[in-house]
Protein backbone atom coordinates (compact mmCIF):
# COMPACT_ATOMS: atom_id res chain seq x y z
CA UNK A 1 0.00 0.00 0.00
CA UNK A 2 1.70 3.16 -1.23
CA UNK A 3 1.80 6.05 1.14
CA UNK A 4 1.63 9.69 0.16
CA UNK A 5 3.91 10.50 -2.76
CA UNK A 6 5.14 13.88 -3.93
CA UNK A 7 7.01 15.05 -7.00
CA UNK A 8 9.49 16.35 -7.71
CA UNK A 9 11.82 15.81 -4.74
CA UNK A 10 13.84 18.94 -5.36
CA UNK A 11 13.27 21.96 -7.55
CA UNK A 12 15.27 25.09 -8.30
CA UNK A 13 13.48 28.08 -9.81
CA UNK A 14 14.25 31.73 -10.48
CA UNK A 15 12.38 34.67 -9.02
CA UNK A 16 9.26 35.51 -11.02
CA UNK A 17 8.84 32.01 -12.40
CA UNK A 18 5.93 29.70 -11.74
CA UNK A 19 6.06 26.20 -10.21
CA UNK A 20 3.73 23.22 -9.93
CA UNK A 21 4.12 20.59 -7.24
CA UNK A 22 2.23 17.30 -7.24
CA UNK A 23 0.84 14.99 -4.59
CA UNK A 24 -0.81 11.57 -4.69
CA UNK A 25 -2.68 10.69 -1.50
CA UNK A 26 -2.53 7.44 0.38
CA UNK A 27 -4.87 4.80 -1.00
CA UNK A 28 -8.38 5.29 0.38
CA UNK A 29 -7.86 8.93 1.28
CA UNK A 30 -9.90 11.69 -0.31
CA UNK A 31 -8.62 14.85 1.40
CA UNK A 32 -5.34 16.59 0.63
CA UNK A 33 -3.74 19.40 2.60
CA UNK A 34 -0.65 21.41 1.70
CA UNK A 35 1.86 22.89 4.13
CA UNK A 36 4.90 25.14 3.73
CA UNK A 37 7.85 24.62 6.04
CA UNK A 38 10.58 27.24 6.08
CA UNK A 39 13.99 26.21 7.39
CA UNK A 40 13.99 25.82 11.15
CA UNK A 41 10.23 26.43 11.44
CA UNK A 42 7.15 24.30 11.85
CA UNK A 43 4.89 23.62 8.87
CA UNK A 44 2.29 26.27 8.03
CA UNK A 45 -1.07 25.34 6.56
CA UNK A 46 -1.60 26.58 2.99
CA UNK A 47 -4.96 25.02 1.98
CA UNK A 48 -7.01 21.87 1.98
CA UNK A 49 -8.92 20.12 -0.81
CA UNK A 50 -11.89 17.79 -0.55
CA UNK A 51 -14.25 16.72 -3.33
CA UNK A 52 -12.20 18.80 -5.76
CA UNK A 53 -12.91 22.03 -3.87
CA UNK A 54 -10.74 24.21 -1.67
CA UNK A 55 -12.31 23.85 1.78
CA UNK A 56 -9.98 25.90 3.94
CA UNK A 57 -7.17 28.29 3.32
CA UNK A 58 -4.37 29.55 5.51
CA UNK A 59 -2.79 32.99 5.44
CA UNK A 60 -1.18 32.73 2.03
CA UNK A 61 -1.52 35.12 -0.92
CA UNK A 62 -3.44 34.34 -4.09
CA UNK A 63 -0.14 33.49 -5.79
CA UNK A 64 -0.65 30.11 -4.14
CA UNK A 65 -3.36 28.10 -5.80
CA UNK A 66 -4.27 24.47 -6.05
CA UNK A 67 -6.36 21.84 -7.65
CA UNK A 68 -7.67 18.42 -6.80
CA UNK A 69 -8.43 15.87 -9.49
CA UNK A 70 -11.18 13.22 -9.56
CA UNK A 71 -8.63 10.57 -8.50
CA UNK A 72 -7.96 12.72 -5.36
CA UNK A 73 -4.43 13.69 -6.40
CA UNK A 74 -3.59 17.35 -6.05
CA UNK A 75 -1.36 20.10 -7.39
CA UNK A 76 0.02 23.18 -5.72
CA UNK A 77 0.85 26.09 -8.01
CA UNK A 78 2.88 29.11 -7.01
CA UNK A 79 3.11 32.08 -9.38
CA UNK A 80 5.56 34.98 -9.43
CA UNK A 81 8.01 33.19 -7.14
CA UNK A 82 9.76 35.18 -4.44
CA UNK A 83 12.97 34.31 -2.61
CA UNK A 84 10.83 33.83 0.51
CA UNK A 85 8.95 30.99 -1.15
CA UNK A 86 12.02 28.80 -0.72
CA UNK A 87 10.86 26.04 1.63
CA UNK A 88 9.92 22.40 2.01
CA UNK A 89 6.38 21.87 0.71
CA UNK A 90 4.55 19.04 2.39
CA UNK A 91 1.40 17.29 1.29
CA UNK A 92 -0.78 15.39 3.75
CA UNK A 93 -3.73 13.14 3.06
CA UNK A 94 -6.57 11.96 5.24
CA UNK A 95 -10.04 10.45 5.03
CA UNK A 96 -12.76 13.07 5.11
CA UNK A 97 -12.71 16.40 6.88
CA UNK A 98 -13.38 15.27 10.45
CA UNK A 99 -11.02 16.86 12.92
CA UNK A 100 -9.99 13.54 14.39
CA UNK A 101 -8.73 12.04 11.14
CA UNK A 102 -5.10 11.04 11.21
CA UNK A 103 -3.05 12.74 8.51
CA UNK A 104 -0.28 11.05 6.59
CA UNK A 105 2.52 13.21 5.20
CA UNK A 106 4.56 12.77 2.06
CA UNK A 107 8.34 13.23 1.95
CA UNK A 108 8.00 16.78 0.67
CA UNK A 109 9.31 18.84 -2.23
CA UNK A 110 12.21 21.14 -1.46
CA UNK A 111 11.85 24.32 -3.50
CA UNK A 112 14.76 26.72 -3.86
CA UNK A 113 14.13 30.11 -5.43
CA UNK A 114 17.23 31.99 -6.62
Amino acid sequence: DAGVTQSPTHLIKTRGQQVTLRCSPKSGHDTVSWYQQALGQGPQFIFQYYEEEERQRGNFPDRFSGHQFPNYSSELNVNALLLGDSALYLCASSQGLAGGSKQYFGPGTRLTVT
Binding site: G42, Q48, G108
Partner: protein
Protein backbone atom coordinates in the same frame (compact mmCIF):
# COMPACT_ATOMS: atom_id res chain seq x y z
CA UNK B 1 0.63 32.11 12.46
CA UNK B 2 1.65 29.21 14.66
CA UNK B 3 -0.49 28.26 17.61
CA UNK B 4 1.76 25.88 19.45
CA UNK B 5 5.03 26.66 21.07
CA UNK B 6 7.40 23.90 22.04
CA UNK B 7 9.78 24.02 24.90
CA UNK B 8 12.69 23.54 24.91
CA UNK B 9 13.73 24.54 21.39
CA UNK B 10 16.61 22.09 21.58
CA UNK B 11 17.41 19.15 23.85
CA UNK B 12 20.59 17.08 24.06
CA UNK B 13 20.66 13.86 26.09
CA UNK B 14 22.50 10.53 26.38
CA UNK B 15 21.11 7.23 25.21
CA UNK B 16 18.97 5.61 27.86
CA UNK B 17 17.83 8.90 29.37
CA UNK B 18 14.27 10.17 29.16
CA UNK B 19 13.36 13.17 27.00
CA UNK B 20 10.48 15.49 27.83
CA UNK B 21 9.13 18.08 25.44
CA UNK B 22 6.37 20.54 26.21
CA UNK B 23 3.85 22.28 23.99
CA UNK B 24 1.54 25.19 24.71
CA UNK B 25 -1.30 26.40 22.52
CA UNK B 26 -3.72 29.30 22.49
CA UNK B 27 -7.23 28.30 21.43
CA UNK B 28 -9.65 25.47 22.19
CA UNK B 29 -8.84 22.28 20.37
CA UNK B 30 -10.49 19.17 18.98
CA UNK B 31 -7.28 17.20 19.41
CA UNK B 32 -3.50 17.56 19.67
CA UNK B 33 -1.01 15.48 17.73
CA UNK B 34 2.72 14.91 17.95
CA UNK B 35 4.89 14.36 14.89
CA UNK B 36 8.54 13.48 14.31
CA UNK B 37 10.65 14.78 11.44
CA UNK B 38 14.04 13.42 10.47
CA UNK B 39 16.51 15.65 8.64
CA UNK B 40 13.93 18.06 7.20
CA UNK B 41 11.93 15.38 5.40
CA UNK B 42 8.34 14.18 5.79
CA UNK B 43 6.53 14.14 9.11
CA UNK B 44 5.74 10.90 10.89
CA UNK B 45 2.62 10.80 13.05
CA UNK B 46 3.38 9.64 16.58
CA UNK B 47 0.26 10.01 18.66
CA UNK B 48 -3.11 11.79 18.76
CA UNK B 49 -4.79 12.79 21.98
CA UNK B 50 -8.34 14.11 21.98
CA UNK B 51 -9.49 17.06 24.05
CA UNK B 52 -11.40 14.79 26.46
CA UNK B 53 -8.36 12.59 27.11
CA UNK B 54 -5.66 13.32 29.68
CA UNK B 55 -2.96 10.77 28.92
CA UNK B 56 -2.04 8.38 26.16
CA UNK B 57 0.72 5.82 25.70
CA UNK B 58 2.29 4.29 22.63
CA UNK B 59 5.35 2.11 23.15
CA UNK B 60 8.05 4.32 24.69
CA UNK B 61 5.94 7.45 24.19
CA UNK B 62 3.68 9.04 26.78
CA UNK B 63 1.62 12.12 26.01
CA UNK B 64 -0.33 14.18 28.50
CA UNK B 65 -2.85 16.92 27.81
CA UNK B 66 -4.02 19.63 30.19
CA UNK B 67 -6.75 21.61 28.49
CA UNK B 68 -7.14 23.98 31.45
CA UNK B 69 -3.52 25.07 30.98
CA UNK B 70 -3.63 24.62 27.20
CA UNK B 71 -0.51 22.49 27.32
CA UNK B 72 0.76 19.06 26.43
CA UNK B 73 3.92 17.10 27.03
CA UNK B 74 5.64 14.29 25.16
CA UNK B 75 7.86 11.91 27.12
CA UNK B 76 10.19 9.52 25.33
CA UNK B 77 11.54 6.94 27.74
CA UNK B 78 14.85 5.08 27.40
CA UNK B 79 15.88 7.17 24.40
CA UNK B 80 17.95 5.78 21.54
CA UNK B 81 20.22 7.45 19.01
CA UNK B 82 17.52 6.74 16.41
CA UNK B 83 15.17 9.08 18.30
CA UNK B 84 17.33 12.02 17.15
CA UNK B 85 14.89 14.20 15.20
CA UNK B 86 12.70 17.29 15.42
CA UNK B 87 9.42 16.86 17.28
CA UNK B 88 6.37 18.99 16.59
CA UNK B 89 3.06 19.35 18.31
CA UNK B 90 0.09 20.25 16.15
CA UNK B 91 -3.43 21.19 17.14
CA UNK B 92 -6.74 20.85 15.32
CA UNK B 93 -9.01 23.76 16.28
CA UNK B 94 -12.28 22.95 18.00
CA UNK B 95 -14.38 25.17 15.79
CA UNK B 96 -14.33 25.19 12.03
CA UNK B 97 -10.90 23.68 11.81
CA UNK B 98 -11.89 20.52 9.98
CA UNK B 99 -8.61 18.69 9.80
CA UNK B 100 -6.32 21.71 9.58
CA UNK B 101 -3.16 21.25 11.64
CA UNK B 102 -1.55 24.22 13.37
CA UNK B 103 2.07 23.44 14.20
CA UNK B 104 4.52 24.81 16.70
CA UNK B 105 8.14 25.56 15.89
CA UNK B 106 9.35 22.20 17.19
CA UNK B 107 11.94 20.78 19.57
CA UNK B 108 15.20 19.48 18.13
CA UNK B 109 16.23 16.38 20.05
CA UNK B 110 19.76 14.99 19.87
CA UNK B 111 20.42 11.62 21.53
CA UNK B 112 24.10 10.79 21.90
CA UNK B 113 25.39 7.19 22.04
Amino acid sequence: SQQGEEDPQALSIQEGENATMNCSYKTSINNLQWYRQNSGRGLVHLILIRSNEREKHSGRLRVTLDTSKKSSSLLITASRAADTASYFCATVPEAGGYNKLIFGAGTRLAVHP
